[in-house]
Each structure stands twice: as structure tokens, then as C-alpha cells.
């Protein structure tokens, strides 16, 4: 028996999303969930640009995009939403233009600012899910805190050299970023070696995590850090543990009662 077409999916959208609608455990119901969903992408560099690009292509209803600063020549090996003709102009405008060209049906909220302690909660409140692609751990930890407080899932993706990692945080069900590092690592440097093909790989995988979580199918990386080394093409799933004294997500976990004496 044919599925009922949800009233909000138009014939044009059926054409555009036809190939992903054929995914048996996604289908029209999954597409409708994506259409009604909203995602915050923090920074639109090598990672976030690809995440946003794939989410726009897949038909996520609303993207809130946060990225400050102007396009620099050194962005262009990996930041595929930025173009040569936009060097010296705001990154967020280049990203918005490229995403609107790809899928004009997606509502885009462009924020010419990076995430920090003062705006994280307000940005997170606008969406159903957050994707963390920022270069600074101060930003990442601020967004983690806001997302955990709001009980919103976070897809954490990262890269270095030819390596990358990916995990999904569901507050109260999985460890959060602060479980892995409660404070910014002092040995981390904001600029680091990487190829655009590495950021593109993990960015697309992060987008797939988002789609699975929003549409409710597949098996997201919950409590699991996927690490990938593209030099040797080795992928490993590694279990991560929550920190019982985590100040961010600890209060969400049921406390263990001492047995009666």
C-alpha cells in the first residue's frame, strides 16, 4: 500500500528528495521530520561548511549558522562555502549565499558571531540540535554547557592532520564534551595541519549523524567516539565514559543511593 503523502511535502520536494526517500527506514516520515527540524551549526569552516551543505541538501527546515569574521585566502583549501570572490568579506554572507543557491527552501538564520558564554543559550534555544565544529575549546565548552542545560543533542566533530573524530551527545544518556575535558586543553593550538578532504569526510559523516538523530533511524554514535585515520584508512569505535563529577551533565544523571546499612 502506498504511503500517504504528508500535506507539507510538496510535489516539487518529492522530486528533489526522491533518492533519499527511497531509503527504506527513512521515507516520507523521515523527510517530514527533517523539514520540521532546526539545527545550529557553530562555525562554517572545513567541518561546519560541509555539515551545513549536506543538511541543506537533505532538506532540514531551518539552519542557524554562527560564524564571525571575513574570508581569508587560508580558508579556501577546506571551507567550501567560501569563494575567492568573497575574500575580505563576511564568511557568513558567503555561506548563506551558497546554501540558498543549493536549496532555497531552507530557512537560514545567519549570525555574524561565534558562540560564546553570552550568546550560547540564546542560539541553542532556537534549534532542536547543535553541531559543534568550532576551533576553540572555549567555544565548544560554552555550547556544550548550553546544549546540555537545554537537553538538546550535540554532534561533536573534529579533525587534525589526516585524522578526525565524531561522537553524538544526548544529555543524560551519554557523556558530554566536559566529561572528556572539563577545561580547554592548554596544548591545543587554534591553527593546525589539515586537508579539506579530511574535514569534508568527517563533516559529511557528522551530517549523517544529524539526519539519523532528527529522523529517528539508524544507530547514532552514542557513548562512542569514532576515530578515523585517513593516512592508513583505519576507523575505530571507542567507548567513552561519563565523568561522575562532571559539573555540566552530572546533575542530569540519577544519583547512586548508598545501600541501607
Amino acid at each position: 500500500m502506498a504511503n500517504q503523502v504528508p500535506k507539507t511535502i510538496t510535489p516539487e520536494e518529492l522530486d528533489i528528495y526522491q533518492w533519499q526517500l527511497w531509503v527504506s527506514d527513512f521515507g516520507l516520515a523521515g523527510q517530514e521530520k527533517l523539514r520540521q527540524s532546526s539545527v545550529l551549526v557553530s562555525r562554517l569552516g572545513g567541518l561546519g561548511g560541509l555539515v551545513a551543505y549536506q543538511l541543506a541538501a537533505a532538506g532540514v527546515g531551518k539552519l542557524v549558522l554562527a560564524h564571525a569574521g571575513n574570508v581569508k585566502p587560508s580558508d579556501l583549501n577546506r571551507q567550501l562555502l567560501m569563494t575567492h570572490d568573497w575574500i575580505g568579506k563576511p564568511r557568513i554572507e558567503s555561506a548563506q549565499r551558497r546554501l540558498s543557491e543549493l536549496n532555497p527552501r531552507v530557512e537560514i538564520v545567519a549570525v555574524n558571531a561565534n558562540v560564546h558564554d553570552d550568546n550560547a543559550a540564546e542560539l541553542v534555544s532556537q534549534v532542536d540540535l547543535v553541531v559543534d565544529c568550532a576551533p576553540l575549546f572555549e567555544e565548544r565548552l560554552a555550547m556544550n554547557r548550553a546544549a546540555v542545560n537545554a537537553r538538546k543533542p550535540v554532534v561533536e566533530c573534529a579533525m587534525y592532520d589526516l585524522e578526525a573524530s565524531l561522537t553524538s551527545v544526548v544529555p543524560g544518556q551519554t557523556p558530554c564534551l566536559a566529561c572528556l575535558t572539563p577545561t580547554p586543553p592548554t596544548a591545543w593550538r587554534r591553527e593546525f595541519p589539515v586537508f579539506g578532504a579530511v574535514s569534508g569526510t568527517v563533516g559529511c559523516m557528522a551530517a549523517m549523524e544529524v539526519i539519523k538523530i532528527l529522523a529517528g533511524f539508524g544507530e547514532p554514535l552514542l557513548g562512542t567516539l569514532l576515530t578515523m585515520d585517513l593516512r592508513s584508512m583505519q576507523f575505530r569505535r571507542r567507548g567513552i565514559s561519563r565523568r561522575e563529577d562532571c559539573e555540566v551533565c552530572g546533575p542530569l544523571w540519577p544519583s547512586v543511593q548508598a545501600p541501607d546499612a
Partner: protein
């Protein structure tokens, strides 16, 4: 006993190796192994490991692909695979 060490991201670059095998006394803990690695690599891992084998913020340690709750209490066994890598980010 012999432990296989895997290095990733920043600690791979700092150590100059991707994998190596290390001999440790029977009954060694993961913290004791980290202190041994700090010495074996002439302090190159000092940004991520303290002298008493504790991880500094940002170092991830996995024993047989699972992060232990405590490195001091994590007893190692012959043939264990220990992976060290740092948290990295976007850009």
C-alpha cells in the same frame, strides 16, 4: 608483559611514532604506563602527561578501545592495546 601503544593526533606528532610495543612489569596500572611513556619519549609528551602519569586536560586514553574510569585503578594485562590521542577541534 608487553603492551601495544597507539598514538594519535598531537601525541603522534610529538612522539614521532604511530605504534610501538612497550615492556612493563606485571601488575602495572595505566597511570604507571603513562609515566613510563613520558620518560621513554624524553618528555615530549609532557604537555599531555604529568610526571606521575596523570593525563592533562585534552588527553584521551583508551584501553582496548574503552576509556577507563580511573587510570590509577586500571590494571593492564599482557597484550592490551592502549591508545593515546588528544581531543582536537574544527576550523
Amino acid at each position: 608483559m608487553q603492551i601495544e601503544i597507539e598514538y594519535g593526533t598531537q601525541v603522534r606528532v610529538a612522539s614521532g611514532v604511530t605504534r610501538e610495543k612497550i615492556e612493563t612489569p606485571e601488575g602495572s596500572t595505566a597511570a604507571e604506563l603513562l609515566a613510563r611513556l613520558l620518560t621513554a619519549h624524553d618528555g615530549a609528551l609532557a604537555p599531555w602527561i604529568t610526571a606521575d602519569g596523570q593525563p592533562r586536560p585534552g588527553l584521551l586514553v583508551f584501553i582496548n578501545d574503552q576509556s577507563p574510569a580511573s587510570l590509577q585503578n586500571a590494571l593492564l594485562r599482557h597484550g592490551d592495546h592502549v591508545a593515546l590521542m588528544t581531543l582536537v577541534s574544527g576550523g
